[in-house]
């Protein structure tokens, strides 16, 4: 009976996460026992682990969960946010089991099924503070049970190319376009750079017929769908590695109403001529206060990004609509003349607060205004 707790392996802590700057954090392995590299980032959300695991924006990353207990409820309780797990691994403090006798799937089993490694029993607070102070890090996760020196692991972390300048979006974008919803009075194309399903659910809830196209869709391919609006999705890694996508966005600008989230926001920024640069350790959590500068209201938001638009680089015909109250970074922009807006955070939540669903309603209104002959950049009400 006591075998199920696996105390011996847990206390031996033979697995570790080695960071490129030489720091090493120990724990025990779970999930797939395969070593891998990744960029370590932390997420301060307290629930929604499966939504995080299936968020394609984490491709190439190790997510460090700061919350004390992870896996407390069954993996089969929550919906997936995409067709697979794209992140490289996860790091947790206390890994929970579930009640298998009543058919619950544990986090360990879920990771195993998706062939992803994890490390538990880690001093995640120390690791988080380290990442806060030294920035997101290239790292090496050693979980395969073999003997390996920490120095070798650190070296492997250093040697890895990292995420900067890398196009991960193309790796996670579904190469086969598909129709997400077939009902609705508006026809919307969603460009998939690693799109979360809850975005699609929210668009569909606005009575939109949603067609998903892959990242390499050309301007012509998009317009061939005769969209009333185009949605630019979230996605992983470096927006600066996607000039060809930014070029398509630039072509779409003014022709059709645009809404972007996360990577979509950055790409709209790039298309508008702004600069996008990397934050020290990014924003990853469910508790970030974002102020809507139009209304003065504060939304508690779900966030997951390492890059942000530089406010000073925005052209004068673009206004900042939302800012992050923690560090005053740009969280949302809107073109003053053309029908296009985007936000850096995740109004679709999953995980996180649902305070910002109203933005999908604004997208719908913008499309309706555009169809009615207005430019669509006019005043937008809050939902």
């Amino acid at each position: 009976m006591t075998d199920k707790f696996n105390w011996k392996a847990k206390r031996e802590k033979k697995a570790f996460l080695a960071l490129a700057d030489g720091a090493v954090f120990h724990g025990y392995a779970f999930g797939e026992a395969t070593d891998t590299v990744g960029e370590a980032v932390f997420n301060t959300g307290m629930a929604g682990y499966k939504q995080i695991l299936t968020d394609p924006s984490y491709a190439g990353q190790f997510v460090v969960f700061t919350t004390a207990e992870v896996g407390a409820y069954a993996a089969n309780l929550e919906k997936s946010e995409s067709r697979d797990v794209f992140l490289n691994g996860i790091v947790v403090n206390s890994l929970d089991d579930v009640s298998k006798e009543i058919g619950e799937e544990s986090l360990h089993d879920y990771m195993l099924a998706h062939k992803k490694p994890g490390i538990a029993g880690v001093d995640t607070r120390a690791l988080t503070i380290h990442l806060r102070d030294h920035g997101a890090q290239k790292s090496y996760l050693h979980v395969d049970g073999t003997e390996m020196s920490e120095a070798d692991a650190i070296k492997k972390a250093q040697e890895w190319e990292g995420l900067d300048g890398q196009d991960y979006a193309s790796k996670v974008s579904d190469p086969n376009g598909y129709e997400f919803s077939t009902e609705g009075d508006l026809n919307v194309v969603a460009l998939d750079f690693g799109i979360k399903t809850n975005i699609l659910r929210n668009l569909a809830a606005q009575n939109m017929k949603v067609t998903v196209l892959p990242i390499n869709a050309t301007f012509e391919q998009v317009m061939a769908k005769k969209p009333d609006g185009v949605f630019l999705s979230n996605g992983p890694a470096d927006p600066n590695s996607l000039p060809q996508v930014a070029a398509v966005v630039k072509q779409l600008l003014g022709k059709v109403p645009l809404m972007g989230i996360c990577l979509g926001n950055q790409l709209l920024g790039l298309a508008l001529g702004a600069k996008v640069s990397k934050l020290k350790f990014g924003h990853h959590g469910c508790n970030h206060p974002v102020k809507n500068l139009k209304t003065g209201a504060v939304e508690i938001t779900s966030q997951n990004h390492n890059y942000a638009i530089e406010e000073a680089s925005l052209p004068t015909n673009v206004e900042v609509t939302h800012i992050n109250l923690n560090d005053n970074t740009v969280e949302g922009i809107r073109h003053k003349e053309l029908p296009a807006f985007s936000v850096q955070y995740h109004p679709e939540s999953a995980p996180g607060p649902n305070d910002s669903y109203y933005l999908f309603g604004e997208f719908r209104q913008m499309i309706l205004d555009f169809k009615a002959g207005k430019n669509g950049a006019a005043e937008v009400k809050n939902g």
């Binding site: 006591t2 932390f42 700061t66 995640t124 607070r125 995980p351």
Partner: protein
């Protein structure tokens, strides 16, 4: 939007005495509000009847009224002060109810006082069952099937409509669910509905479908006037629905809900705020979820700061009360900084990277006849909170923080009694929610009953059961080491045990070693705790405020060097742990004073405490706060980490005192009176010698370890005797015995409580006057703070007795003798700091009862009466200042009278005898001040909830020896227009004295009797005194209990009656009560 400038003076109502359901959390919230409102430039008028609070310290507000919390008194204060606004949301249900009454009576309108924080309509909507239901249905929330009734017949009709047992009954407008219950059949239904109708202020009960076994959650919400709203903390109850949330073990953040379910509950909680119309401030929303279907039901919402808010504040570092006060005066959340990070705004939701567990503390041992099964009526008197990096660790820390003899979750001697249960008993006890059920569960898990079986029995979520199961089974893993020496050689195993929260006490128990031995071995191998901070943001931003908890982890945050503190010595102050009867807010008051004073005097103060309700655990009370259990291991870990120069033990009550010697032996420098001298004062032989040396009498006494020794002693000194175990606070296990039969019984009981410590037997001084003296000494000079004379005679615990400053009946000669003795004893005991003496006067002769070289329960009362901060001065003495340097060399004599009265929890324990005895039973106290002694006493009765009517019918039943003494008093009452009812014997006697009464039967003899009178609302006051020593008769217990439940004032001693009559006569002359602020009173003190 900046703060409002159209209001200047704000009135704040406190929550009054500590009672079950309203603890010291409202002192914490009140203090935060006072501080921040004054910092913002507002004038604050504070009203509270509880002297043991920090909020009523004269520096905390501009005007402080220690007056009864009644509408009439508040009316007087409003008339006098003319505040612009009243902030009613920080003083618990008491303040909220008073504000509503002031509003309904038009007093707020008449004096143009604006309610801020919550509007009357919102309060009404949240509190009135119909309006609440209506509002919730409107926003589409699910509610239990229910109905509300104003009579028994309405209630029965509703029960038929719902059509299934059990049913939950809740009275409207009460504290902590008073009078509610779960009815499983018609008989129970009738009893509980009647009780509920009585307890409800608006004579209403809600009857609803049972949600027994559903999962229970709480959300702490903050909202500003712009509609910005955040969840500060989410809380999950380990005990499912059916146990009052105040009596449940609770966990933060919520563990067993997935994000989707959590966010839906979050959305709805914010909607509730809006629907109720809470414009600004903090509220608490309670939910129940059916575990299988996920059907979620709203239970209730409180439009005010609550017990849960205090817990949420401590659990997250988000100062709810402070922010609520700022929002009430016009700020918005985005305008306010987060104290802890100083860089981010308060408009955010704290992210926790640890687990918090709160466990309630009960005192059923004080009320052996009370039903110890937990239900919808709150019964706990305090709580402990612990923080850990995983649930198991937090749970274990919380359980050892309780200080009930358990070193954690199992693995302790006290759990052995559960091992003796047969399976049947075990199953029954697992199913029954009780104070110790968590340990019963431990036993069941040890027997490998497994998660599923226990889930079926308890409906405690499998998440919790899985963790508890792992802990219960892990004991064998520790034992597999074979011995402590081997464990020390297996660092990974030892470390794992510590990560899972095993204390040195538990590990010691498993290997038959003392905690000290475990600690020594552990330190030898370098296995010491890590410390992490509570930072509201899970490490995302740097924390400025040093608020810590311990854990075992690979790393640790370094000791924080506070800028500018380089040269400062660090002094640790040990708090009192969870509140309990005998050790409550008074000691937290003293600890806070020590912290304030030492900081002011240039020390860096390290506070250690485990009680989330307190001001001492506010992170700005001390320089550094460690939220930790008060055990040797936990305290020494911090002491060594911070390299403290000393530790103060004499302010936190018995908890730190019991640790004093062990701390010293472990290498800590205990400042103030030495642990040896503290121990000496408890040593009977030494004390006897000391008493002889000083030349004061002492009641003859002896020490027994068993019944035979006890009988031998009584043979010598004679009955009646006072029997008690040594080393306890609050007179635990203490009784007066008149007969051998009872002596045998009580000695056995006392031996069980004292855990091997000897039993003390004193001759009992009947009808003696008791005195309490608090004094302060710098090691050379001693100054008396005050001599207090008890209203009730010796034999009633000093904590339960009303007491008066200055003494009422003592001659100057006696008083001077008392002062001389105080000086002698302080000198002999090498007291440095505070000392308390208890004495008795019988036939003009003084007897010493006891001397305690530490802070006593009465320190705040005395300090407020004489206008001298005794605890503060004592702290300075302990660190080397003399009383002369401090400027306190003369006793203060005051030209007014202060009365302290005790407040009891009897209403929560129906059927329990309310007679006062040497065993302390009160949970709290009130103070009143007046120039007139009678009025001061009468005010104290009003403040303590024993509101004597100014007209009406009195029922009188007296013991024989009191009958003559009562005659003149009753004559005066008749003269004032009262009608008297009496039982036959008393009636005949009074008739012979020329007093006409109406005779009724004794309850057991026939009808009509008192029960009928109460039922027909024919009596408004009961005077009932009983024979000493005899076990109270069923009749009387029933009568008194009924009176308490019916809210009829009851006077149980002739002394109290004397004072009350005096007060009534003075009130009759004056016409009304006068009110006056503490600051004004203190101006009259001759120093």
């Amino acid at each position: 939007m900046p703060k409002r400038t159209d209001i200047k003076k704000i009135m704040l109502i406190g929550s009054g005495p500590i009672v079950i359901g309203q603890g010291c959390e409202f002192d914490y919230s009140g203090v935060q509000a006072c501080k921040v409102l004054r910092r913002e430039g507002y004038e604050v008028v504070l009203v509270n009847s509880n002297p043991a609070t920090i909020m009523t310290e004269p520096e905390m507000a501009d005007r402080t009224y220690i007056e009864p919390l009644s509408v009439d008194i508040l009316h007087e204060i409003i008339r006098r002060e003319r505040p612009d606004a009243l902030l009613p949301t920080l003083g618990g249900q008491t303040a909220l109810n008073l504000a509503m009454e002031l509003n309904e009576r038009g007093i707020l309108d008449r004096y143009q006082v604006e309610l801020i924080g919550a509007k009357a309509e919102s309060i009404q909507r949240a509190e009135d069952r119909h309006l609440f239901k209506e509002a919730m249905l409107k926003i589409g929330l699910d509610l239990p099937r229910s109905g509300s009734a104003h009579s028994m017949s309405e209630a029965t009709a509703i029960a038929h409509t719902i059509g299934s047992w059990p049913l939950i009954i809740r009275p409207g407008f009460t504290l902590g669910g008073t009078g509610g219950g779960i009815a499983h059949n018609e008989e129970e239904f009738e009893t509980i509905v009647n009780r509920g109708l009585d307890a409800s202020l608006n004579n209403e009960v809600l009857i609803e479908e049972s949600l027994l076994g559903w999962k229970e959650f709480e959300m702490e919400v903050m909202r500003d006037k712009k509609g910005n709203a955040v969840i500060v903390c989410s809380i999950e109850n380990l005990d499912p629905m059916g146990v009052h949330t105040g009596d449940s073990i609770t966990v933060a953040p919520i563990q067993s809900l997935d994000d989707r379910a959590y966010q839906a509950m979050r959305d709805d909680s914010l909607k509730v705020m809006e629907a109720i119309g809470v414009e600004t401030g903090g509220s608490n929303v309670q939910w129940a979820i059916e575990p299988k279907t996920g059907r979620r039901i709203i239970i209730e919402m409180n439009p005010r700061v609550s017990r849960s808010s205090a817990l949420a504040s401590k659990a997250t570092g988000f100062p709810i009360a402070k922010i609520a006060a700022l929002l009430a005066v016009g700020y918005t959340l985005d305008e306010l900084r987060n104290d802890i990070t100083q860089t981010t705004p308060s408009c955010f939701e704290p992210a926790l990277d640890y687990v918090v567990v709160k466990v309630p503390r009960f005192t059923f041992e004080k009320f052996p006849k009370a039903d110890s099964t937990l239900g919808t009526q709150m019964k706990s008197v305090g709580e402990a909170m612990a923080i850990g990096t995983n649930f198991k660790q937090a749970m274990q820390k919380a359980l050892r923080s309780l200080e009930t003899g358990f070193g954690g979750f199992g693995a302790c001697a006290k759990c052995e009694k559960f091992a003796a249960y047969d399976d049947e008993t075990l199953a029954k006890e697992v199913a029954r929610p009780s104070a110790e059920r968590i340990f019963v569960l431990h036993e069941a898990l040890r027997r490998k009953w497994g998660v599923e079986k226990l889930y079926e029995i308890t409906k405690i979520d499998r998440y919790f059961l899985r963790h508890l199961e792992e802990l219960a089974l892990y004991e064998d893993e520790i034992l597999s080491a074979g011995s402590l020496e081997n464990l020390a050689k297996d660092l990974p195993l030892f470390r794992q045990a510590k990560e899972l929260g095993y204390s040195d006490i538990q590990i010691g128990y498993l290997f038959h070693k003392t905690p000290e031995e475990v600690m020594a071995v552990r330190k030898q191998i370098g296995l010491i705790p890590s410390y992490y901070s509570v930072d509201t943001c899970a490490g995302e931003f740097e924390a400025i405020t040093p608020y810590y908890y311990s854990c075992y982890a690979e790393n640790s945050e370094p000791v924080r060097e506070i800028p500018g503190h380089g040269h400062k010595k660090r002094i640790m102050v040990l708090g009192g742990g969870p509140n309990r009867i005998g050790q409550g807010i008074e000691f937290d008051y003293c600890c806070c004073h020590a912290a304030f004073t030492l900081r002011h005097e240039g020390y860096e103060v390290i506070m250690v405490n485990s009680n989330p309700e307190t001001v001492s655990t506010d992170y700005d009370t001390s320089d550094k706060l460690y939220f930790e259990p008060l055990t040797l291991e936990d305290v020494m870990g911090i002491y060594e980490r911070e390299k403290c120069a000393g530790v103060i033990v004499q302010f936190g009550g018995q908890t730190p005192l019991n640790l004093a010697m062990r701390l010293k032996k472990a290498g800590a420098n205990v400042v103030g009176t030495s642990p040896e001298d503290i121990d000496l004062a408890e040593d009977r032989d030494f004390f006897k010698q000391l008493v002889d040396k000083v030349g004061i009498k002492q009641a003859e006494s002896g020490i027994a370890h068993n019944v035979e020794e006890a009988l031998a002693i009584v043979e010598k000194i004679g009955y009646p005797v006072l029997v008690r175990p040594s080393f306890v606070l609050g007179g635990r296990g203490m009784v007066i015995v008149y007969k051998e039969k009872y002596l045998r019984k009580f000695v056995e009981e006392a031996a069980a409580i004292g855990e091997g410590k000897p039993i003390l037997i004193d001759r009992f001084l009947e009808d003696a006057t008791e005195l309490d003296v608090d004094c302060i000494s710098d090691g050379k000079h001693t100054v008396v703070g005050a001599i207090m004379e008890h209203v009730e005679p010796a034999g009633i615990h000093s904590g339960d007795s009303a007491s008066v400053i200055p003494p009422m009946t003592l001659s100057k000669e006696i008083q001077d003798k008392v002062r001389a003795y105080a000086k002698e004893f302080a000198k002999e005991l090498h007291v440095c700091g505070l000392m308390n003496m208890q004495l008795a006067v019988k036939d003009g002769e003084l007897y010493m009862i006891e001397v305690n070289p530490r802070a006593s329960r009465t320190v705040p009362f005395v300090s407020k009466s004489i206008g001298v901060p005794l605890a503060s001065y004592a702290s300075r003495c302990m660190l080397g200042e003399t009383l002369e340097q401090i400027g306190f060399t003369e006793e203060v004599h005051v030209p007014y009278v202060s009365v302290k009265e005790a407040v009891f929890p009897f209403v929560k324990f129906p059927g329990v005898d309310i007679t006062l005895s040497p065993e302390m039973k009160s949970t709290g106290e009130v103070m009143s001040i007046d120039r007139d002694r009678g009025l001061a006493y009468l005010k104290s009765q009003l403040a303590s909830g024993n509101k004597v009517p100014s007209q009406g019918n009195i029922f009188v039943s007296l013991k024989d020896e009191d009958k003559q003494k009562a005659v003149p008093l009753i004559k005066r009452l008749v003269d004032m227009g009262y009608q008297i009812y009496a039982t036959r014997g008393t009636s005949t006697m009074l008739y012979n004295e020329g007093i006409k009464t109406r005779a009724v039967f004794r309850i057991s003899r026939g009808r009509p009797n008192l029960l009928d009178l109460i039922h027909d609302k024919e009596v408004q006051w009961i005077v009932n005194t009983t024979e000493n020593g005899a076990e109270a008769m069923v009749d009387e217990i029933q009568m008194r209990s009924k009176a308490v439940v019916s809210g009829i004032p009851i006077t149980t001693t002739i002394a109290a009656l004397t004072s009350t009559v005096e007060g009534l006569m003075d009130k009759h002359d004056f016409g009304r009560f006068e009110v006056c602020s503490l600051q004004e009173y203190h101006r009259h003190v001759k120093k």
